[in-house]
């Protein structure tokens, strides 16, 4: 048997077989204990983090879901909705919220709760995240101390979700148009509060309730005046049109502003009532009501027409009524507090309206701003409230009547501008006369009769030129868009201007006929006509397209017509620029050009295309020129070393830049075939300052490739038209031997950049 060991162990090694000890706890029970500990710890942790349960009553609880909707306080999740139910009368929604431990202090009196919903209005966009995340309940704490668990939810989000230390004020106004909840309230340009509601008071008058933030509450005084800020105020005065926008949010619905104009009153109390004036002037005008009688009130507008004192606005016309007994108009005005004492017995009020007379125009500003009442204080000390108004008598001015001493001249044009009688005639910016009438002349041409005042008689010469002044001149240059207005009267109709160009001739006699040019530039261009032939005359406009020399307008295109497959533009220059008609002068049409190399002629997008001139070196002048293709003006100015590049085939053509280490050092100026026709010869010009780079061992290559990386693959495009319109030439001179290159030396043009040159 196996038990009978052939090599019995020593007696001490013999062990007794003992049955396994039973009843001991196995370490395997560690698993369930660990599981229990983990579970308990998790539950205990959860329980520890949860705070008290609060109940909030809402009128409606859209989008509130148990176990999903969160309670947000200062942007942090402070609790979760546990249940949503209706009360027994189904009149309220009862929402129970389990607060987090750290948000326990929200369960205090005066805490506000509201449902955050997306609000998208012109004024504000709020609760945007609720579109994505669903509605949530928001809270605002007011630092109450007493514990409370039942709350009444706010029907809508408060205007200031963080703080609520505001004073409330009521503003009365007969009409409150565009003001609404959330409209800003400004004090001296600073936003200090918001409109809360628009309601009716007990007497049925609309009242705006505004809240002014606590820190600004002291700015509201008992004598503060409130007024409505219009959405955008445009004020027009002679020489200035200003657009006044309170702020971007004010653009949409204006605002309310307040300030006090008299001495400082005492601090206003919470709930105080004020009047809301329709505008700042109305708010400023707080003196006693003055009544002025006028014969008629044409042009006056209640609530808008100002009372001025030496041009300064000091009061406002409040209302206009017609007295049925006297048949006269009674204008009620109020003056600003500071000027109210000046209204004494012998003060005078004059109605100012637009007024034309032989001597000139008066009250011209009132055409735009409306009539006004000019106030002149008296010397008496006796205050008065009733006044008889004066009127500046309206003058019957006949524009067709001859002004004494003025000279009448006739202007003719193919088509006359729309100028009415009375439009101004300018001489060096001064009004020298006016347009009298427009008519069809004897030869069927439209004519315009203008009269020039006696003072300006001697400046009207036989060689004077007349041109139209547009209503608003817009001058455009690279980086400049300027608007120039020729006086107020020209805003709506423009005028006519004249000047003697060149040496003044004898004084023009009466009834001289002049041509009316379309613009000053056209009038000033008096040189002999020059014809320029363009291969492509796209964009050329007779009377519009300008000629520029170094960016300065020097002439104008007078006529454009196709001649033998080309476009012939007849141009004239201003005096002093005749040198541009010398033989060899270059003319290039400048158009906007967008390429990888950059953007050129961008100003022409706004200002229109123009012709760039380059003076020639010849001595005698020519009458006909061939336009130079683009990019040539630069070459024409360049001087430098000319060399010849030879290549069996290349796409590089005239105008291609030559660059040395990414710097442009010259240009290809010509492309010809070699005498045997096998080679293409490019004439290249290296600029003088870079001619030292040129050496007899210089290398040239057609640099037409665009290199890019797609992922980690290098990609090369050989598309010269992408690189530059005419291709590009690279050039490098290796260090070392090589004598200076001689002008006219022939170099081979390699098809690719050699490897031993810097990239």
């Amino acid at each position: 048997m196996k038990d009978q060991d052939p090599n019995p162990l020593p007696a001490e090694a013999k062990a007794e077989i003992v049955p396994a000890r039973r009843g001991g706890i196995s370490w395997a029970w560690l698993f369930p204990i660990l599981a229990l500990v983990a579970t308990t710890w998790l539950y205990w942790n959860n329980w520890k983090a949860s705070g008290p349960e609060i109940t909030i009553c809402f009128d409606a609880a859209p989008g509130i879901e148990p176990a999903k909707t969160e309670l947000i306080y200062r942007g942090v999740k402070a609790g979760e909705v546990e249940s949503v139910a209706l009360d027994e009368h189904i009149g309220k929604v009862i929402v129970t919220v389990r607060l987090k431990k750290f948000a326990e202090s929200l369960a205090r009196v005066n805490t506000d709760f509201w449902i955050n919903q997306p609000v998208i209005s012109l004024r504000d966009i709020s609760g945007l995240q609720s579109i994505i995340e669903g509605n949530s309940i928001h809270a605002r704490s007011h630092g109450g101390t007493a514990v409370q668990y039942l709350f009444q939810g706010l029907p809508e989000a408060p205007l200031a979700p963080m703080v609520n230390q505001a004073i409330l004020l009521n503003l009365r106004s007969p009409a409150i148009s565009y003001i609404g909840r959330g409209t800003p309230v400004y004090h001296r340009g600073i936003k200090v509060g918001l409109v809360r509601t628009k309601i009716f008071d007990r007497s049925g008058q609309p009242v705006v309730e505004i809240g002014v933030a606590g820190e600004f509450a002291s700015k509201v005084r008992t004598n503060s005046r409130f007024w409505i800020l219009p959405a955008a105020a445009v004020s027009v005065s002679p020489g200035a049109v200003s657009l006044n926008i309170p702020s971007i949010e004010g653009v949409l619905d204006g605002g309310i502003a307040f300030d006090q104009f008299g001495p400082d009153g005492t601090e206003a109390t919470n709930g105080a009532t004020f009047d809301l004036a329709p505008g700042e002037f109305a708010a400023r005008a707080e003196g006693p009501l003055l009544v002025i009688e006028f014969e008629d009130c044409a042009g006056l507008r209640a609530g808008e027409s100002p009372v001025t004192y030496r041009g300064k606005s000091v009061g406002l016309l409040e209302s206009l009524t017609v007295n049925p007994q006297t048949g006269r108009v009674e204008a009620s005005v109020r003056l600003e507090a500071a000027y109210a004492p000046l209204a004494t017995e012998d003060s005078s009020f004059t109605l100012v309206r637009p007024h034309f007379s032989k001597k000139g125009l008066q009250g011209l500003d009132t055409i735009v701003t409306g009539s006004r009442i000019e106030f002149e204080p008296g010397k008496s000390q006796m205050a008065a409230t009733q006044f008889a108004g004066h009127e500046v008598r309206q003058f019957d001015w006949n524009p067709f009547e001859d002004d004494a001493g003025s000279t009448r001249v006739v202007l003719w044009a193919e088509s006359l501008p729309q100028l009415t009688a009375g439009a101004p005639v300018y001489y060096h910016g001064m009004i020298a006369g006016r347009v009298n009438e427009s008519r069809i002349g004897e030869n069927g041409r439209p004519e315009m009769v203008v009269s020039v005042g006696p003072k300006f008689r001697e400046y009207l010469r036989v060689n004077s030129r007349f041109w139209r002044v547009p209503a608003a001149l817009v001058s455009v240059g690279p980086g400049v868009v300027g608007v120039e207005m020729q006086g107020l009267s020209a805003i709506w109709q423009g005028g006519v201007a004249f000047d003697a160009i060149g040496t003044p001739g004898p004084v023009a006699p009466e009834e001289t006929a002049f041509e009316l040019h379309v613009s000053e530039l056209a009038a000033a261009a008096i040189s002999e006509p020059v014809r320029i032939n363009f291969a492509d005359g796209q964009g050329l406009l007779a009377g519009k397209t300008e000629l520029k020399y170094l960016g300065v307008p020097v002439g104008i295109v007078e006529r454009v017509r196709p001649v033998a497959g080309k476009i012939e533009a007849t141009v004239r220059f201003q005096p002093g620029y005749e040198f541009l008609t010398r033989k060899g002068s270059g003319f290039t049409l400048v158009k906007p050009e967008v390429g990888l190399q950059g953007v050129k002629g961008i100003e022409t997008l706004v200002g229109g295309i123009y012709i760039e001139c380059t003076p020639g070196s010849g001595t005698e002048s020519a009458e006909t020129f061939e336009a130079v293709p683009e990019a040539m003006p630069a070459l024409l100015k360049d001087t430098g070393v000319e060399i010849v590049l030879e290549s069996p085939s290349t796409r590089v053509s005239a105008g291609a830049p030559i660059s040395y280490n990414h710097t442009e050092v010259g240009t290809v100026v010509g492309k010809t075939l070699s005498p045997d026709g096998r080679q293409i010869r490019l004439t290249a010009r290296i600029r003088q300052e870079y001619s030292s780079l040129l050496s007899s061992n210089s290398v040239f290559w057609a640099d037409n490739a665009i290199e890019g990386k797609i992922w980690f693959f290098k990609v090369t495009f050989d598309r010269p038209e992408l690189v530059a319109p005419n291709g590009r030439v690279g050039f490098y001179t290796p260090a070392g031997a090589g004598g200076p290159a001689s002008p006219g030396q022939v170099f081979p043009l390699l098809a690719k950049q050699p490897r031993n040159t810097p990239q």
Binding site: S26, A28, F31, A35, T39, L42, E133
Partner: protein, 164 residues
């Protein structure tokens, strides 16, 4: 490992599995954020979600694989342990253990799916899937049953009681 240690280990693991089974089903397994809508899903919640969207097949599958099967595994292990040492229903017990082994191969599929979902379902603000503590408990339940079924050897069914 003696059969005795095997036995007590199996008992301990089954007990731990039973304890962990509760939080595994009560706690959310994952948080799905779809277009900002945050939803915590428990295993049962997931089944409900599928059922509500009309995918009854998927709902049934998940219910079976994630709730019924682990529960049945725990139950049958308990049954095996209860009858341990007796000579009753030995062939049935044998069969049950075999089924347990076979199912065990697939039991981690839920966790695997969840980890794939959490890794793939990261679509920025559009959608994201975040595993939650419930998944750990769920995995722990599965591990417990898996090891218990592995450790409890078929021969222990056939062993006479006195040997223990």
């Amino acid at each position: 490992m003696t059969d005795q240690t095997r036995m007590s280990l199996t008992k301990g693991l089954v007990a731990a599995g039973l304890v962990l089974y509760i939080p595994a089903n009560v706690l959310p397994v994952m948080t799905i954020v779809i277009a900002g809508q945050v939803s915590d899903l428990t295993v049962l919640g997931g089944v409900e979600e599928f059922a509500q969207s009309g995918l009854m097949g998927a709902a049934g599958l998940i219910f079976l694989a994630s709730i019924v099967v682990p529960f049945l595994k725990l139950l049958s292990l308990c049954w095996l342990l209860m009858l341990h040492g007796s000579d009753r229903m030995r062939p049935q017990r044998m069969k049950a253990l075999r089924i347990l082994h076979q199912i065990g191969t697939w039991s981690m599929i839920d966790i695997f799916l969840l980890s794939v979902l959490a890794a793939v379902g990261q679509l920025g603000i559009l959608a994201s899937v975040v595993p939650r503590p419930g998944a750990v408990f769920f995995a722990a339940v599965l591990l417990c049953t898996l090891f218990a079924a592995e450790i409890y050897q078929p021969r222990m069914i056939w062993r006479p009681q006195r040997a223990l």
